[in-house]
């Protein structure tokens, strides 16, 4: 009981949103004229109570590393804002034992005209460090950020990478009992991200500090956090071991019947140039599937419409493993690299055959896109449109030989080996 650092009890936050009532259906001039004064003078608006967070309850113990995941708008940032007292809950309460420091956005308080040195002090003070604390850690901070040479130049001259490194370095050296980090690591290169993750892990394991980490990057979450909270539309959908929660995140709202009809909801899924109409996965015989054996091929079909003549539109898809790693991406440009690539207006069907003995056993999440051949412009992209289970029947000798257990790897190719005795 002593160990609980955060206890949230039915924490809720509501915002009142105003809607101007759009009355578009005027039938007579008289009605139109009569409603004008209301529009000009009246509060032709309704208020809706939008619950950003509804009755969220959970407990976090000292030294825990908890991931918070969810769709955009699920309430993750709102939860952090409540826990850091930036905004007040509408109902419910949270009890926090220990000091909290948060990193909701890098460089909070950074001023472009001030030098790196000055900004470290400024930023540190804003995050709650005293001048003495900052002075003590100054060298460590600069070393972590790798900006020794530029510490006395105005921050406006920094590259975006340096900027982010410096901002994170300050926050990383705070000594709060609880550290809340909100998606800030999305900026910054891989080396830096690894460094930050390492620091967060270090801080939690060796100094018994608690870390709450909000991110969309599943590999990062699964490598740092042991437990996870999945938020959906303001409520906790799932809480527990990270791998389970991530699975739950992915299986929410994904078409699990092998085919998607984008024309159903009347919206255009795309832009003025191209839009997608249908997508499906079939086996070699043409039947729609959601599952496939490892030694069978799968066909991905996309039907799309090009509405602008002479447009350069390429269908492509991306395969993600259940851990969120991008396994591969493919697009139709490979057909004829020399061709003009311009297509006429009309409806197209693209078929792509995924060969047998290619993917490993896993649940794959497929994102679909319509882009220009060099992917500079994206006409349509949706991340998790289809879900494919690739299954390995254990009696499949060709690809697994005599190995009885699960074979690791993102891919499972059947490769040719040549072995001969040489002496």
């Amino acid at each position: 009981m002593d160990d609980v650092v955060i206890r949230a009890e039915k924490l809720s936050k509501a915002y009142d949103i105003r809607h101007s009532v759009q009355v578009n259906r005027y039938s007579t001039i008289q009605e139109t004229l009569l409603s004008l004064p209301k529009k000009l003078f009246g509060k032709h608006q309704t208020t809706e109570r939008f619950w950003a967070l509804k009755e969220v309850s959970f407990e976090v113990r000292r030294g825990d590393r908890v991931g918070i995941i969810g769709r955009n708008g699920a309430g993750k940032s709102t939860l952090l804002k409540l826990l850091t007292k930036i905004t007040e809950p509408t109902s419910g309460q949270a009890i926090i034992n220990g000091r909290v420091a948060s990193l909701l956005e890098v460089g909070t308080g950074f001023h472009p005209e001030l030098t790196g040195r000055e900004n470290i002090f400024m930023n540190g003070a804003i995050l709650g460090m005293s001048r003495a604390e900052i002075r003590k850690k100054f060298d460590e901070i600069v070393a972590f950020a790798e900006v020794e040479k530029f510490i006395d130049t105005p921050v406006k001259r920094y590259s975006s990478g340096m900027y982010v490194r410096l901002a994170f370095a300050v926050a990383a050296h705070l000594e709060p009992e609880i550290l809340l980090v909100d998606e800030v690591l999305a900026v910054g290169d891989a080396h830096f991200q690894k460094k930050c993750l390492g620091k967060m892990e270090d801080v939690s394991k060796n100094e018994e500090r608690t870390v709450l980490f909000v991110s969309h990057n599943m590999p990062m979450i699964s490598s740092l956090c042991e437990t996870c909270i999945l938020l959906h539309e303001g409520r906790i959908l799932r809480m527990g071991a990270t791998s389970e929660v991530i699975q739950a995140y992915y299986s929410k709202g994904i078409a699990s019947d092998g085919s998607v009809d984008f024309t159903k909801d009347g919206r255009a899924h795309g832009d003025e140039t191209a839009r997608i109409l249908h997508a499906r996965m079939t086996n070699e015989e043409g039947g729609i599937v959601t599952e496939s054996l490892i030694n069978r091929s799968v066909i991905i079909e996309m039907e799309y419409e090009i509405t602008l003549s002479e447009a350069k539109v390429s269908p492509n898809f991306l395969f993600y493993t259940s851990e969120g790693v991008c396994a591969f991406m493919s697009s139709d440009v490979s057909i004829d690299p020399k061709s003009d690539l311009k297509k006429e207006k009309g409806i197209y069907r693209a078929k792509c055959i995924l060969p047998a003995n290619f993917l490993n056993q896993d649940t794959y999440y497929i994102g679909l896109a319509l882009t220009t051949p060099m992917t500079q412009k994206v006409h349509f992209y949706e991340k998790e449109v289809l879900q494919l289970n690739v299954v390995d029947p254990l009696d499949n000798v060709e690809t697994r030989g005599q190995i009885p257990v699960r074979i690791p790897g993102v891919v499972r190719p059947l490769l040719r080996w040549e072995c001969e005795k040489i002496s």
């Binding site: 930036i86 905004t87 419910g92 009890i95 460090m129």
Partner: protein, 275 residues
């Protein structure tokens, strides 16, 4: 076992109280925000210091010509330029403080929506930054007093009290303005106008002895009357300071401060949502 501070986050109801301990904990931030503002102004302009001095000096010179020379307004026996300069000097402190503090919350919206700290620090730091400019103009005042050969009398010992009164008044008004500005952005546009009008309702270019006796106590409801007259009296040592006017004016300032604190702390909770 738990020597860790425990915080309970829950919806607050009713009026808020002022947590001085918390403000003390964040004092470093207060100094740094004020220092940042000062630094920025002087860093970016080559003539930073000059602007700080010109702001009270130039209007004083213009007033000296128009009201002193041409209109020949009474100045309690002091040379008019000196008379009006002490007025513009302390008025400038006040008007700059409320204008900058008034916009300070909105101007620091990115801080307020991302980090927690007692929001009162923001307008307070603006007032602090203006104080720095004031100290610089103090040097000009000393120079002028030497030029006019007007050494200060014993009254000068009281000038810190009036300076303090000016700051208290400024803070009180700033709290109201900054909090109101978050919700009703009109205030930002109204402020220059407000300050202009207020200048003439305050005894800066004229002595309050100009006001007919029967209107004097209404006049002293203006909280600026107290510290302007008081400051000038303490520095120049001429004329008499009406105790009744001083009390009324200072009283209004005190009430503004207290109510301002209450209003600010009560609306503070919603700042991050509205800003």
């Amino acid at each position: 076992m738990t020597n860790n501070p425990q915080t309970i986050i829950r919806p607050s109801i009713g009026l808020a109280y002022l947590d001085l301990r918390e403000i003390w904990r964040y004092r470093d931030l207060l100094f740094m925000l004020a220092a940042r503002e000062i630094q920025l102004r002087y860093k970016q302009t080559a003539f930073g210091v000059v602007w700080a001095v010109l702001q009270p000096l130039l209007p004083a010179a213009i007033f000296a010509v128009i009201f002193g020379l041409f209109a020949k307004l009474p100045s309690n026996g002091s040379p008019y330029l000196l008379f009006v300069f002490t007025g513009t000097m302390i008025w400038n402190l006040f008007s700059q403080a409320i204008t900058r503090a008034g916009n300070s919350l909105v101007g620091n919206a990115n801080l307020i929506s991302k980090v927690y700290f007692p929001r009162i620090i923001v307008p307070l730091s603006s007032v602090g930054a203006v104080l720095f400019d004031f100290l610089i103009t103090g040097l000009i005042l000393v120079a002028l007093m030497i030029v006019y050969r007007m050494p200060p009398g014993l009254n000068i010992l009281l000038f810190p009290a009036f300076l303090l009164l000016a700051l208290v008044t400024a803070i009180g008004i700033s709290l109201w303005l900054s909090a109101l500005n978050v919700k009703y952005r009109d205030f930002m546009y109204a402020m220059p106008f407000l300050v202009q009008v207020w200048l003439y309702a305050t005894p800066v270019v004229y002595a309050s002895s100009l006001i007919p006796q029967k209107y004097r106590w209404i006049y002293s409801i203006n909280p600026a009357v107290g510290f302007v007259e008081g400051f000038r009296w303490s520095v120049l040592g001429r004329g008499t300071l009406s105790a009744s006017m001083l009390f009324v004016s200072a009283g209004v300032a005190a009430v503004t401060l207290v109510t301002g604190l209450i209003y600010f702390r009560t609306t503070e909770r919603k700042f991050a949502d509205v800003i």
